[in-house]
Amino acid sequence: MNSKQNIFRYWLAWHFIEIPRDIIKIINNLLRFVWSFFSISLLLKTLFSPWRKYYWGYGRGFSLKNYLSAFSFNCISRFLGMLVRIGLIFLSLIAIFLVSGGGLILFLAWIFSPVIIIFFFILAGVLIF
């Protein structure tokens, strides 16, 4: 095998196996980052928890008035917590969508880059001449 054949074989392995593998790795890293940046697991686990653990105790003994006021405050606290958390989860879903979409475009662009470049050359030739 001559030097030209050798280098072409290296290029094929590099372009179609090694770099695509690296791109997948990068997309994976970015998705993991989005997951941890928005603390999605934690948000889901504590979705209905009171906001910043802020709640009223029911106290000793039973008093309907106290019970109702504590109950309603705690419900509001939990509802507020849920609202903020859902908002953030929604934002994180957008980020995941962008990373996945961007990653897919990058991946495809890389795989088809030889064809794209050839297409550019042909198009350039047509436009110039």
């Binding site: 290296y10 090694e18 934690l42 686990k45």
Partner: protein, 856 residues
């Protein structure tokens, strides 16, 4: 060994890539990429300007052709960039790794296969230049000459060593020409260097044999270069250490490149982790947020010297049974660095799952106590803070100097052990308390139940080598702050000197402090930007008064004339004085640098009043510059085994000996009447005499390397006295004396053998006594002359009278000083006060009545 290796570039893909013409074209890819990117951008500009009909930049080119050119330039840019990328990420990394070949030890190894692209380029260049195709025919000098060129590795290594690589290159050239003229064959070839480089790469888990490995091996083995280094006070080991420093920085830079890497993405942190935790309003008022501090300091890839301790802390904190840590270490040993690393790991999520997102808060007890007016209020505030730790659920509480707040308390402190114990048992309450070994033993060991709520982790200070690496981490910040360039020998000297002369603090703090002082000193007194090792000597000398630098002329004179100087104050005892002078000359000339013992250890044997103690005092005066440098211990006060505590310290008081030597390591230690000490006390000195250190009550090593130890004893004085009267030889007397000491179990042979010299002091003759009287009276005369302007005449009769009054066969000349004081000094003082003598007068003493007579 050498048979295992060979070098065949023909079968190496790296060398194939270097020689391949395709690679040469690809190498130009980056330049092409830049040019065509520029052209593409220019064509885009042209296209956008031509969108506006006002401007006419068409230069007879239609718009569609312009788009065509833009596309063409962009396509060429993409090809060039991708070609260069292919070269960098694939072709330059061809071939097996070092570890792969190391594993195949049964086969012969072709080193050419594991040479890195840059190193390969250098070898190919050398082959072409030397017109040789075999590595065994290329001399080490030729290789070194080619290796030294303007690149980041060579510039860094040589500039940090304080060397000019161009100058070294010229010296190599001259030596090579000399060898060629003399037709001398070089002992070392490139083949040997490659084998050494392979072994280094394999040891350091390198993928390939890099330029760093080749440089290190060449420096290590080339005899001519080693000669150059030695002449400049450097060793191959130092250069290797600088290469390691360069490798560390390169790794850090490489790791920080590429935002998409998992570790780099972690640096960004996360939001919303605190949303699940409760508020800590009270705690925030009285605490320091270590997590915020760690974020501000940035992301540290590793913690030097305390990796295992950090992992220990993490393991304890996630333990469900006992999750409180007690860090025991000396202040300055890196205790807080461990917590800073924990805070960083916790914030960036590189720690154990259960610790991620935790906040590390240090409770500022001093502030809390100062803000409250009564003990009850303190308790209430603490209770609220601890309650908040539990409700927040994401707090690890740090309590610094715990020993100050446990047990008996002083003004400004309270005992928090009671209230803290209540919470320590809760699995939701995680505490890292910090204390020192001394604090633990003095205050807390008595509180067993309280201590049992913690798991202890002992912090050992980092080694000298690790400290050097820590200093290297500080260098960029310090250089930017002081606008100086710190040489590697400076860092090395900082570590060596701080280890030896600053025993109060542990590593790394003492080395960091010294480096800071050196930089301040060089900014104030230094010339130029370079911080050389001499500044370290000067700073240490200023701080400790120890002459650590090269011998000055004055000191050289002192050492050469030491016998004469001592004899100005000590009469007779030639042998003793000579032995001391010899020992000191040996030490200061650094002939005995490998000696890990005190500078000199002597046992003075002889009757009372013959000058044993006076010799020690005189030496402290002459050599150490002041009698204040004398640490005198009356060994008759150490007659019980329990007295060891007085020397090395106990829970209730510091050690007399260890504390003084730690504070002032450049001292003379006088152990008076050593025969009276208990044998167990003498055993304590065996390590000091033999290895030059002693461990104190808290296990801290106290170095005695810069001390002179003199022990005195008058055991067997009778034998000396008897034999001296019989005119026996001094060596014979010494032999008899030693036999007497062993037979009567006064000293054990292993104790006496550890002294550098056992010196017998002779009893004083009448003539000696007259000379001593002369010395004492001379001193008085000088004093009188200087302070009162009165001239005292010292007559033979006066000297004889003083000797007659003071001499006692048992006490020697000990009484003489008292007699001079009582008789002569008192008489002069009385006469002066009564106005009988005035300034400018000459006086004489009447030897019968000790009355003052004026001389006309």
């Amino acid at each position: 060994m050498t048979n295992k290796f060979y070098f065949d570039p023909q079968s190496s893909s790296t060398f194939w890539a270097i020689k391949s013409k395709n690679c040469t074209v690809l190498n130009l890819g980056n330049i092409f990429a830049k040019i065509f990117l520029g052209l593409f951008l220019l064509s885009l500009l042209w296209l956008s300007l031509n969108l506006f009909p006002r401007y006419n930049f068409s230069w007879s080119l239609d718009y569609s052709s312009g788009v065509g050119f833009a596309l063409l330039f962009f396509a060429i840019f993409l090809i060039s960039k991708s070609g260069h990328f292919f070269l960098e990420t694939k072709l330059k990394r061809l071939g097996p790794s070092v570890s792969y070949l190391s594993g195949a030890s049964v086969q012969r190894i072709n080193l050419a296969k594991v040479v890195d692209y840059r190193a390969g380029q250098l070898i190919v260049k050398l082959f072409n230049k030397e017109k040789q195709k075999h590595v065994s025919l290329i001399s080490s000098l030729s290789f070194g000459y080619s290796l030294l060129s303007n690149n980041s590795l060579i510039s860094f290594v040589f500039s940090r060593a304080g060397l000019d690589w161009k100058e070294v290159k010229n010296l190599l050239k001259e030596e090579r020409q000399k060898e060629e003229k003399e037709e001398k064959d070089s002992d070392l070839s490139l083949e040997s260097i490659l084998i050494a480089a392979f072994q280094r790469a394999s040891k350091k888990n390198h993928q390939k044999i890099f330029l760093e490995d080749l440089l290190s091996s060449w420096i290590c083995y080339d005899p001519f270069l080693n000669k150059i280094l030695l002449e400049r006070g450097l060793r191959a080991k130092d250069m290797d250490s600088i290469i390691e420093w360069f490798e560390f920085i390169s790794q850090e830079i490489e790791a920080s490149e590429g935002f998409w890497k998992r570790d780099n993405l972690k640096k960004i942190g996360s939001i919303a982790t605190s949303w699940a935790a409760g508020y800590t309003l009270m705690l925030d008022r009285y605490s320091t947020n270590w997590t915020r501090l760690a974020r501000r300091k940035g992301f540290y890839r590793e913690i030097l010297g305390h990796q295992s301790e950090l992992e220990g802390v993490e393991n304890i904190l996630v333990n469900s049974q006992k999750n409180n840590v007690l860090l025991v270490g000396q202040p300055g040993s890196g205790r807080k660095n461990i917590l800073l690393a924990l805070a960083g790991r916790s914030f960036w999520g590189t720690t154990l799952e259960a610790l991620r997102g935790k906040r590390i808060l240090e409770l500022n007890l001093n502030h809390l106590i100062a803000q409250t007016s009564s003990g009850e209020e303190v308790e209430l505030a603490l209770d609220q803070c601890f309650q908040e730790v539990i409700t927040a659920g994401n707090v690890i509480l740090v309590i610094n100097d715990l020993e100050r707040f446990v047990g008996e308390t002083t003004i400004g402190t309270v005992d928090i052990s009671g209230i803290l114990s209540k919470y320590l048992e809760s699995p939701k309450f995680q505490v890292v308390a910090i204390t020192s070994p001394r604090g633990l033993r003095q205050k807390m060991e008595k509180k067993t139940a309280f201590i049992n709520l913690f798991q202890k982790i002992e912090i050992t200070p980092p080694s000298a080598h690790q400290t050097l690496r820590i200093l290297e981490l500080h260098v960029p910040r310090l250089e930017a702050q002081y606008r100086k360039f710190i040489l590697y020998p400076t860092l090395k000297k900082v570590v060596e000197h701080s280890a030896r002369y600053f025993q109060e603090k542990p590593f790394p703090q003492k080395a960091i402090d010294l480096l800071n002082s050196v930089l301040v000193y060089s900014s104030r007194y230094g010339k130029g930007k370079i911080v050389s090792p001499q500044y370290v000597d000067q700073v240490v000398e200023r701080k400790t008064e120890i002459p650590v630098s090269q011998l000055s002329n004055i000191e050289k004179d002192t050492l050469l004339n030491l016998e004469g100087l001592i004899h100005q104050k000590i009469i007779n005892q030639d042998q003793a004085v000579k032995k001391i002078a010899l020992a000191l000359r040996r030490t200061r000339a650094e002939i005995a640098s490998a000696r890990e013992k005190p500078m000199g250890t002597f046992l003075f044997l002889g009757p009372t009043g013959v000058g044993k103690t006076e010799t020690a005092k005189t030496l402290a005066d002459i050599y150490f510059g002041s009698r204040k440098k004398l640490i005198r211990l009356d060994m008759s006060e150490f007659q019980n085994p329990s007295d060891v505590a007085h020397l090395i310290g106990s829970n209730d008081f510091p050690g007399i000996l260890t504390t003084k030597v730690r504070e002032d390591p450049f001292s003379l230690i006088l152990l008076d009447e050593i025969e009276k000490a208990h044998p167990k006390i003498l055993n304590l000195f065996l390590t000091v005499l033999d290895e030059g250190y002693l461990s104190d009550r808290w296990g801290r090593k106290v170095s005695f390397l810069d001390t002179i130890i003199i022990a005195t004893s008058n055991a067997g004085a009778e034998i000396i006295r008897k034999n001296i009267t019989q005119n026996e030889e001094l060596d014979l007397i010494k032999e008899k004396l030693l036999n007497h000491l062993f037979e009567n179990n006064i000293f054990r042979p292993e104790f006496l053998n550890r002294f550098d010299a056992i010196v017998v002091f002779k009893t004083l003759t009448q003539e000696n006594l007259l000379n001593i009287a002369q010395l004492l009276l001379e001193k008085l005369k000088e004093n009188l002359n200087q302070k009162k302007g009165i001239e005292l005449i010292i007559s033979e009769a006066l000297k004889k009278k003083i000797v007659e009054l003071s001499y006692d066969p048992v006490f020697g000349a000990r009484e003489m000083k008292r007699i001079v004081q009582d008789k002569v000094e008192s008489a002069i003082a009385q006469a002066f006060l009564a106005g009988k003598i005035k300034r400018g007068e000459i006086i004489e003493i009447d030897t019968d009545s000790f009355a003052i007579k004026k001389v006309e």
